[in-house]
Amino acid sequence: MSAEQAHDGSAEVAARVERRWATIAVAIIVMMALLAAFAGIHRATMPQPRVEIIDPSRIHLSGEFVESNLGSVLEASGNVTVRAIGQQYSFTPACILVPADTPITLRATSADVVHGILIQGTNVNTMLVPGYISEQLMRFTKTGDYLMPCQEFCSFGHEGMWGKVKVIDKTDFANRAKAGGRLSCVGQ
């Protein structure tokens, strides 16, 4: 066997090992994509699916984000809807009151620049982009206080933009909701 032939043989081995690795790499990636699709469809965990627009210069005048409509409301279905806005440099309401063990829909938008809502210790995390409505489904299993910082740079006061979420017992919340109106924990 000549040196040239031996060299060709090693090239074949090299190519085979390489193909094997490439196959494993592709398999890993296909598996990741399938897992994400499965979790998205089967467990319904996915980012916000729909695009809704809103005029930020008019939100204080009419529509669902007028001041009197901000806060938490217990719907007839037993679910809770929370409406909030972010503006430089606070959230309204600054303290969001919600019940534990209840499906909650958070609907929020920005009155000026880009903000974000992040509830620490949870995976509730969404952007507030002026002109668009953000919607996020959430459910708290533990009562207590959670910090809710703005997570996107919104100019010089960004570091001071911290809200709060107070999760209370389900029946306690239902009692408070009987009085009607929109609930929050501002000043409590």
């Binding site: 090693s10 090239a11 090299a14 190519a15 090992v17 390489e18 490439a22 790499a25 890993i28 990636i29 990741m32 994509a33 994400a36 979790a39 998205g40 965990t45 996915m46 980012p47 916000q48 699916p49 729909r50 695009v51 809704e52 627009i53 005029d55 930020p56 210069s57 430089q88 938008t109 000026d112 620049v113 880009v114 974000g116 992040l118 509830i119 620490q120 949870t122 995976n123 509730v124 995390n125 969404t126 952007m127 507030l128 982009v129 002026p130 002109g131 668009y132 953000s134 919607e135 910090l147 910082p149 703005c150 997570q151 996107e152 740079f153 100019s155 010089f156 006061g157 960004h158 570091e159």
Partner: protein, 540 residues
């Protein structure tokens, strides 16, 4: 010595000088918002510093390194005269002018919008124009890389393009196209508002345009590092490239799939629907493929070097590697950081997991580990490797070089690991200070302190790097010989056209951009009622 050493040295020195300044700002930021610093009385200063740090580290520093390295590759890999030297200096001049134009409004506090712009926040128009000039300057480089390759092809019809140049041109095309997203955002949306011609802007559309640039730019930063993995490291440690064609496939994959994936930055955004978010998530998974292939090929190439040096056994060969060689050390550090950073990246791009860490300090930790760590440590290695060919002088401080690399690695780990951790605890990004007196935030104080210490280790290492290069300008003269690149075990005599040209892949890159970005962009651009009033920064 390289014929265009002045041109290349100018790019490198400017790159490392601005890097030194931005690194110092970064260390100050780490310190001032940690419990060991006192609270800033004026948080605005923090955002000035942050804007400068991001603009330099994101746009100016890596672009100059890629350009300088690109000119070195064009000259030495193609072994022909570099055509368009005057244009190259023009591009360099544009970058200098653009940087100065951008930095003045930043320093005056008139452009504290961060390098990611964030409209409807609007800063001084000269900041944006400066960034545009930097990009235009770099586009001249893209054209020159293409032109020089074309001249070489004419002289060598059908011959395999040297791997270093093939990858270099792929990187330049990637940059040219990915910069278009931010360019559209700046030219069509932000600059008209900053100049006072309009006073409303679609913030959601701007975020989509920016995501077009924001992800693939990372792969542009990465290109010099990958070129070094494939074409410098094996030569420097006495090995061979395991496979020339797999290297080409990796660079082609970067070119094609780095682009249509940027919307994984907008998972939490309200202006993109679920479908496109999922498509972009899947494509982002694909971009792991060229990295997985690279890890294999480079490990195999390194093993070849070890076995040529007498290494034996399943893992025993690792001991036979030239660990006192700075290039070997840099590669090992780079791979460790790439491994951790890459694993974090898989979490970020994941359709579901991203929600837990989106816009937290985890993300800042992630890209500092990948870019500042895995990528920049190879920029150091590239500079060390090229320096004797640029100065005609030997870098004699090998021990100092090793210490510098060790410090950078340790500093990066000490900085970014706690950074990831506080991100998981939900600590938000881009804040001038934190109230560590709040019982809910107090547990993060220790981690933030570690990160700040890491920042100072990095600063020490970065300054050492600059000192080593400066001393190298006055070291004893040496004939470094021609600058060479690693060759493959089976150096190809012919290469299939698909692996030797870029046209098909550039077409695919553009087509995938159109399919993955076309609808979301048109949908918002054509719909009315999404523009919102601009909010001017620094306008008292």
């Amino acid at each position: 010595m390289l014929a265009n050493r002045k041109l290349i040295l100018a790019h490198f020195w400017l790159a490392f000088a601005v890097f030194g300044v931005a690194l110092t700002l970064g260390a100050w930021q780490m310190f001032i918002r940690s419990p060991i610093g006192t609270w800033l009385s004026d948080p605005e200063l923090y955002y000035r510093s942050l804007t400068a740090h991001g603009t330099v580290m994101g746009y100016v520093f890596p672009t100059l390194v890629a350009m300088g390295f690109g000119y070195a590759i064009a000259e030495s890999a193609l072994e022909q005269r570099l055509v368009g030297v005057r244009w190259a200096w023009t591009g360099f001049g544009l970058i200098v002018a653009g940087s100065i134009m951008a930095v003045i409004p930043i320093a005056l506090g008139r452009a504290s919008v961060l390098y990611t712009f964030y409209p409807p926040l609007i800063g001084n128009v000269f900041y944006y124009l400066g960034v545009v000039l930097v990009v235009v300057g770099s586009w001249i480089w893209v054209a020159l890389m293409s032109l020089n390759l074309r001249i070489w092809r004419k002289a060598h019809p059908g011959a395999p393009v040297p791997l270093a140049m093939f990858a270099n041109v792929a990187g330049s095309y990637l940059w040219a196209w990915t910069a278009v997203g931010a360019a559209l955002e700046l030219l069509l949306q932000i600059i008209p508002v900053a100049a006072g011609l309009k006073n409303t802007i679609d913030a959601g559309l701007a975020r989509i345009f920016f995501s077009w640039t924001l992800h693939a730019i990372v792969y542009f930063w990465l290109m010099p590092t990958y070129i070094a993995y494939y074409t410098i490291v094996p030569r420097a440690i006495g090995g061979r490239v395991y496979s020339d064609s797999m290297a080409r496939i990796s660079f082609i994959l970067f070119l094609v799939v780095a682009m249509p994936i940027g919307m994984h930055h907008t998972f939490a955004d309200p202006m993109v629907g679920a479908g496109f978010k999922f498509i972009h998530s899947t494509f982002t998974a694909l971009v792991a493929l060229p990295t997985l292939l690279t890890v294999f090929t480079i490990c195999a190439s390194v093993e070849i070097a070890a076995r040529l040096r007498g290494g034996r056994g399943m893992f025993g060969w690792i001991r036979a590697l030239p660990w006192d060689n700075p290039m070997m050390l840099a590669l090992a550090f780079s791979f460790v950081m790439l491994g951790f950073g890459g694993a974090g990246g898989l979490i970020n791009m994941s359709y579901q997991l991203d929600a837990s860490i989106h816009n937290t300090q985890w993300i800042t930790g992630h890209f500092h580990l990948i870019f500042g760590g895995a990528i920049v440590i190879m920029y150091f290695a590239i500079a060390y490797d090229l320096w004797p060919h640029l100065t005609g002088r030997e870098l004699i401080d090998v021990r100092l070089i090793r210490t510098q690399l060790w410090l950078w690695f340790i500093g990066m780990i000490v900085t970014t690991f706690p950074w990831h951790w506080v991100g998981i605890l939900g600590m938000p990004r881009r804040m001038a200070y934190f109230d560590f007196g709040d019982p809910a935030i107090a547990p993060q104080a220790l981690s933030v302190t570690f990160s700040a210490i890491g920042g100072f280790i990095l600063l020490t290492s970065g300054l050492m790097f600059i000192v080593i290069l400066a001393r190298g300008m006055r070291a004893p003269q040496v004939d470094a010989g021609p600058y060479r690149f690693a060759i493959a075990v089976h150096q190809p005599k012919t290469v299939p056209v698909a692996l030797n040209t870029h046209a098909l892949w550039v077409a695919l890159m553009i087509a995938l951009t159109l399919t993955n970005y076309g609808y979301p962009i048109l949908n918002l651009a054509l719909s009315s009622g999404t523009s919102v009033p601009a909010v001017y920064v620094g306008a008292q």
